[in-house]
Amino acid sequence: MALTPVTPQTPAFTAGTAAAFGAFAGLFVGTAQGSGLMGIVLGAVILAILGAIAPMMAGKDKPVRWAVFFGFIAAGYAFGGIPAAVVGGIFGAFFGWLIFFVASGRYRESLAPYLTPGQVLWHYAFRVICGVIFIFLITPILVVMPLSFNSQDFFTFTPEMLQFKAEGYSLKHYRDFFTNDDWQNALRNSVTIAPVATVLSVGFGTLAAIGLSQPHVPFRRAIMAILISPMIVPLIISAAGMYFFYSRIGLQGTYLGVVLAHAALGIPFVIITVTATLVGFDRSLTRAAANMGANPVTTFFKVQMPLILPGVISGGLFAFITSFDEVVVVLFVGSAGQKTLPWQMFIGLREQISPTILAVATILVVVSIGLLATVEMLRRRSERLRGISPT
């Protein structure tokens, strides 16, 4: 959909834009090789030359792009073997596309014709900034994943790994996780504590949310503030308080104690999500049910519950993840018999930097993605049912 007719750009403009990108990429490559400044200069010069050539080759996009692509792969390989060649290939493909995108003026195509050059620049700068922030957030998580297949006992990309040799990789950290008693006990504790804590949070949280959504309840705001306070008070303060309180009543170091502590942390999430779903709930439905002879309990399970279920489930998932990820409170309230996965990871990081932690982290990331995807699907379904969003 072309909004604006395109006119090819001058070589000087293309060269300048390409040089800016080249300098940015060169900064990283150069820093990795030992001199950031050298990288900036070289990157800018190479891309300026390519950018100056591109407008003259208009119409012959394809062969030039392939040439740039393979040129960068070759240069990368000469520099640092296979891993550098892969990076070179990515850079080559991107720069080959970039110089023609700029040179042909196509970047103007999908934008309104009345935009000033400054607005066009901002349009693209905004996207680049968003991309950079995204990369900044996601890189630490992505780096962990290949490292968890390391065949060594350190957090190090070994030369074998970087050359994609099979002996540099191994599943031994995953094997360690599935065969080591410490990790298996921790996993067992986590999967026995989290679901029960979740059930308690969901039960109490849903009831509290329904009660607090009745307009005639006195001190509604104050009660609400107290119930969601575990989310706001620093965790270490809740944990220390719970430790002394639970010690006195004999709950410290017991399974029940950890479950109750985690339930207290999970309740605010349930209250918030359920309260939000209740805003869209039509109260005349409960009156209609009462009118037809249903008692309040039947009304709740048959009428209200099915409609607010998405909110209950997403609150439950947050409560589950809170309990599953929690390390501070369990360190205080639990004893060695209730050692959970995050606790075991914390010890592992402090005493022995073992990549088994990375293997567990990878597994947990995959599980978390699965749970969050479920939440998102439920949210969409609820919106669809309530007719808020057509998609």
Binding site: V196, G253, I353
Partner: protein
């Protein structure tokens, strides 16, 4: 309907959990240690044989790093859940002074050596506190990257301060202990005068000034596993850590790392029994201690980790590594070849001066 079943289930678990706990407590020991390879060596050498012999189940809590604070909190809350705790000697002295650890009559509660020598003589001067049962001798010493130090491998601790001969980063523990002594030693102070010099304000300034010469090249560590990781990455040329960590990086993980034993700093690690246990639990803890600190058991631990047994009578029994089959004696900090020039860390001096020097050290770090 479903919800009713669910709540019934929750109620049942809630009721049963404390009962199950109460039953187990009768035949259970909670032993606190450092985690990692060290706990693994204790499990293999002490816990597993003890469970096989007595049927007592052992729960391993890896909280020794917070032991002092946690024992204080447990005591305040009147709910001591630990039976035997592994701590370094200086922590044992603090706990003993505060009355948080049981005082022991070593000859009465510990096994005598096989030849009949009483325990107090067998451990000798390693019994630094009435509450403390020594277990191992470890040292804080240096490892260096064999491929990054050039042709002349360092042989003196002062290589740390020699940026010309060994350029690059070095890792040191983020505390004044040992670092101040090494700094003064390398500034020309005689070994037996280090603590005299360090007792004066000028001496402290002199130590910090020496550390200042390498401050920009230091990576500070807080957990013993960090230096091996930094060495494996090649991020540092040399660094201090516990000798057992270096042994495992060198012998078990085949990293290009060499040992620099010069001026290694000896320290002790051992057991205490927290005060305030019931008579029955205390008796069980003592039974475990009697078993786990006898001559053979201490020698057995050395098959899994390169820390020296605290009993004199255990030294001749130290054998080969359990899986690698190499002789362990040459890797012990106490081996004569390694212990040529040793720095003896003065517990009492540090107990008296720790707070003051810590404050100055932290202020210097923040500058």
């Amino acid at each position: 309907m479903k919800l009713t079943k669910m709540s019934a289930l929750v109620a049942t678990t809630a009721l049963c959990a404390p009962m199950a706990m109460a039953e187990d407590m009768a035949n259970e020991l909670t032993i606190v240690s450092w985690g990692g390879a060290y706990s693994a060596s204790q499990k293999a050498a002490y816990h597993d044989p003890y469970t096989a012999k007595t049927g007592v189940k052992i729960i391993n809590d890896e909280s020794s790093a917070e032991a002092v604070a946690k024992i204080r909190a447990m005591n305040e809350a009147g709910n001591v859940t630990w039976d035997v705790v592994d701590v370094v000697a200086s922590d044992a002295m603090r706990l003993c002074d505060e009355g948080l650890a049981e005082e022991l009559d070593h000859d009465a509660v510990l096994a005598a050596a096989p030849d009949g020598t009483p325990a107090s003589e067998d451990f000798g001067n390693l019994i630094v506190s009435d509450c403390f049962v020594p277990q191992i001798v470890y040292s804080t010493t240096f490892g260096y990257r064999t491929d990054l130090v050039g042709d002349t491998a360092p042989t003196s601790v002062c290589a740390i301060f020699d940026l010309d001969a060994y350029p690059g980063k070095r890792s040191l523990q983020k505390r004044p202990i040992d670092n101040m002594e090494w700094a003064l030693y390398c500034d020309g102070v005689a070994k037996d005068e280090i603590y005299d010099v360090l007792s004066t304000p000028e001496g402290i300034d002199r130590g910090l000034a020496k550390l200042d010469t390498i401050k920009d090249s230091v990576v500070w560590w807080t957990a013993g596993a960090q230096t091996p990781q930094l060495l494996a990455d090649g991020e540092v040329v040399m660094g201090s850590t516990f000798n057992g960590r270096l042994f495992s990086a060198i012998a078990e993980q085949n990293q290009p790392i060499g040992m620099l034993w010069d001026m290694q700093s000896f320290d002790l690690d051992g057991w205490i029994v927290p005060a305030g246990l019931s008579a029955e639990r205390k008796a069980r803890a003592m039974d475990y201690l009697f078993f786990a600190t006898d001559t053979q058991r201490l020698a057995d631990q050395a098959a899994y980790i390169s820390y020296g047994p605290a009993r004199k009578s255990s030294a001749p029994l130290v054998g080969k590594h359990a899986t690698l089959g190499i002789d362990m004696a040459p890797h012990m900090p106490t081996d004569p070849a390694n212990a040529g020039n040793v720095h003896t860390y003065d517990y009492e001096w540090w107990a008296d001066n720790r707070d003051d020097i810590d404050a100055k050290f932290q202020a210097w770090l923040a500058k």
